[in-house]
Amino acid sequence: MIPDDFRQLLARRIAGVEHPREKIMDVVFMIQDKFGYLSDELLEDAAGLLKMTPLEVEEIATFYEFIYRRPVGGHVIHVCDGVVCWMSGHASILDHLRGRLGIDFGETTPDGRFTLLPTCCIGYCDRSPAMMIDRKVYGKLTPERIDEILEKLGLDTEGDSDDTGSL
């Protein structure tokens, strides 16, 4: 169940729009930011708020890459497997990540800290190979840089995304 105060927050996000379902992405992202993933229970709650049936929400939730219908770790790592990253060393980046985390695509580390997933070209091909963690982008990856990023995430959970809002 969504706690009451959070439900009110969601309701405010939807309030005033003619067609509440237009706000489905915002609602799902807010839920994921708080609970990590969209559980069956949360999905039903969201459906109620959006004036949709749970099936309609499911139809959309399963359509998108960044909507998680299963539990994920504290940090979700999406490694770009687009053609430019493929050309510039995606395989070795992936091997390094797998080795460091001891997991494969679709898996979460036993301590629940990291989930590893693929993603298509994230539009940072000029800084390939690239990946996204918690919707922040990291480019020009090397094994050393990955180690640094993982270490930072493990220590203070903030990370030094190089996508700071400027060019």
Binding site: H19, M25, F29, D81, M87, Y124, T164
Partner: protein, 420 residues
């Protein structure tokens, strides 16, 4: 080199509203709202030969003219910032450079079709760009350029940012209309066209980020000035070319529309990565055709590319060198397209994974000579699909077989990838 869209480009920060205004920003909007009939705005875009930068190259002014005078309200103006075409990142760079020209463009186009609701549809991996846009929309509103009764003209407009959650088909304009309504994002074949019945069955005009950014400059400096920005008289404006792959300096460059590919690569992208020789490129993203080396000097504009049997697409050049396996590259892209197929129609849903499997077999050394005609046949067959995703997906495969059949043959003959 004349910089128009990138004239306020800084390596480390976004141009501010003040900076944009100091360079003439929002003067076009002020002029339009005070003295331009809507038809004049449309005519200016038409005279400027502003062709849609999202890939299809459709004349922008013509699109606005299809919104009937008598069409119902409210009408929608959508800015397409989905940019999920592999190899493409120009819209991201543009938003991170000088976002107000996009906002001003939306308001001007909104005015020309009387659309009071603006929506920027943006992909999930551009969260920073989404926040920049939200912040700058607020600043534009505070300055009186958005909201009710803009600059006392009687025209009102609001713009909001709609985040997507990652699916390539959402970039297709009709699928995007479904996505915005919170419906499953499958395309809708016209008629009726979106400009007649789009979001909630109301008139909807969709444009790419770059197309919209050109609009204020056209109004301010005139259509002839815009046409003359191009490299030759049969093209118009500037183009944001993104270059990635095996070049020294990958990046996004604003150059005259129709700049030669050789200049884009050799001069602006700093030439090939040391030790690499040019083999081919995809000139406009993953859904365009591999270009043979014989066309290395081709002029990169919609018309010249079309005459040569190619597509400019998004003008995103992905450069491949002699040591890169094109079967592997094509397989990678087919994985993408098969995964991103929305599943609505059979030729795409079934055809793309089938083509991917054949390519995977060839790459793994298990290909048969008969696979080549089979792939050719499939490349033609997927043109029966419901939307343009599948024909786009077939482009790298078809051109691989047209220009690089030897490479495919070598995989089959040697029962392995000759590059590994």
């Amino acid at each position: 080199m004349t910089q128009v869209l990138f004239k306020n480009r800084h390596p480390d920060r976004i141009a501010t509203l003040e900076e944009y205004r100091a360079g003439g920003g929002y003067e076009a909007l002020t002029a339009v709202l005070s003295e331009y009939p809507r038809a004049k705005v449309q005519q200016l875009a038409l005279d400027a030969v502003l062709l849609g930068r999202g890939g299809a190259g459709f004349p922008a002014g013509k699109k606005w003219m299809t919104v009937a005078e008598s069409a119902p309200f409210p009408r929608y103006m959508v800015c397409n910032a989905d940019e999920m075409e592999p190899g493409t990142f120009k819209d991201r760079v543009l938003i991170h450079t000088d976002p107000h020209q996009i906002i001003e463009g939306m308001i001007i186009v909104g005015y020309s079709v009387m659309a009071e609701r603006g929506i920027i549809f943006i992909r999930a991996s551009y969260e920073n760009a989404a926040r920049i846009l939200e912040r700058e929309i607020e600043r534009a509103r505070a300055a009186g350029f958005l909201g009710p009764n803009i600059l006392g003209s009687g025209f009102s407009m609001e713009i909001s940012v709609h985040r997507s959650a990652g699916r390539y088909i959402c970039g297709e304009n009709t699928a995007q209309i479904n996505a915005i309504q919170g419906k499953r994002a499958t395309p809708i074949q016209p008629p009726p066209y979106a400009t007649e019945k789009g979001i909630w069955n109301l008139p909807t005009v969709t444009h790419n980020v770059e197309t919209l950014a050109c609009v204020p400059h056209i109004i301010q400096n005139g259509p002839e000035w815009f046409r003359n920005l191009a490299a030759h008289p049969d093209a118009a404006g500037t183009k944001l070319y993104c270059v990635s792959g095996r070049v020294q300096h990958p990046g996004c460059f604003e150059l005259p529309m129709g700049t030669r590919l050789s200049d884009i690569i050799d001069i602006h992208a700093g030439g090939m990565t040391p030790g690499c020789t040019f083999k081919t490129c995809l000139p406009g993203g993953a859904s365009t055709r591999f270009l043979p080396k014989s066309l290395y000097d081709i002029e990169m504009d919609f018309d010249s590319m079309k005459k040569a049997g190619h597509r400019l697409g998004t003008g995103s050049v992905i450069v491949f060198d002699e040591k890169t396996c094109l079967v592997g590259a094509t397989l990678n892209m087919m994985e993408f397209f098969a995964r991103e197929s929305c599943g609505w129609c059979t030729p795409c849903r079934e055809g793309l994974p089938y083509m991917r499997d054949i390519l995977a077999r060839i790459e793994a050394g298990d290909g048969k000579p008969a696979d080549i005609p089979l792939l050719r046949q499939m490349s033609r067959y997927v043109w029966n699909a419901y939307c343009a995703l599948a024909p786009g997906a077939a482009s790298p495969v078809e051109s691989l077989l047209t220009y690089f059949e030897d490479e495919v043959q070598a995989h089959i003959r040697q029962h392995r990838c000759p590059f590994s």
